[in-house]
Symmetry: C2
Subunit: 127 residues, 2 copies
């Protein structure tokens, strides 16, 4: 553990704490929650509609992980019925911007990836 | 399916093909393989040593997925003993650069995340 702290952080090392942080930021639902919150704050049920396919359980887990990491702020308003808003902290905003750039790139490049897959599958069929 | 093609790509939609591409680029081992290959090409066993903690099976699966997506080039040299080199394609290089920026950011910000986790856990213990 001392060794891990003394060395420069390196996500490629299994024992480096940064590895776990990167796994949260790039987790299946973490990525999409960060991107959604980049636009504005959301209530839980709104966010669940925005992030297509996420279950209630996975969204709750993802939000809790991101909150614990200091990326997401959970604001429970003392009203009836209860209202909870989720938004990005400044640290979360930095993460979300990076992830957002990657998502935009992916959306733009998806046609090339789909074409590459077709070529790959065709070559396998031919061989 | 027609609908998914007609709409603008959006990773937040469960039926958008870009969702699956993003999942490959941000997969647990995909991220680290892309980052490693950003430095240079690797043979399988070298790459396995470089990406700490990856199993032979997961590395093979990850490389195959990235190759099929057009991100990684697999070069099997006709020599004895067999030699296979993995490197990034130009598309893979673009992906890896994005992911590399995110990884650097994560490495830099990990101390803040660790501090946030301590605050979170402390607040839970106190309440």
């Amino acid at each position: 553990m001392t060794e891990a702290i003394d060395l420069a952080p390196d996500v490629k090392r299994a024992d480096c704490p940064s590895r776990g942080v990167l796994e949260h930021v790039t987790s299946r639902w973490g990525v999409l929650v960060l991107i959604a919150l980049l636009e504005r704050s959301y209530r839980f049920s709104e966010l669940r509609r925005e992030v297509g396919g996420v279950s209630e359980k996975m969204l709750a887990q993802t939000l809790q992980t991101l909150e614990r990491d200091g990326f997401v702020d959970r604001d429970a308003k003392p009203v009836i019925p209860p209202r909870v808003d989720y938004s990005l902290t400044s640290l979360g905003c930095e993460a979300a911007e990076q992830v957002g750039v990657l998502a935009c790139w992916t959306e733009r490049r998806t046609p090339r990836v789909l074409a590459a897959r077709e070529d790959y599958d065709q070559a396998r069929r031919d061989s």
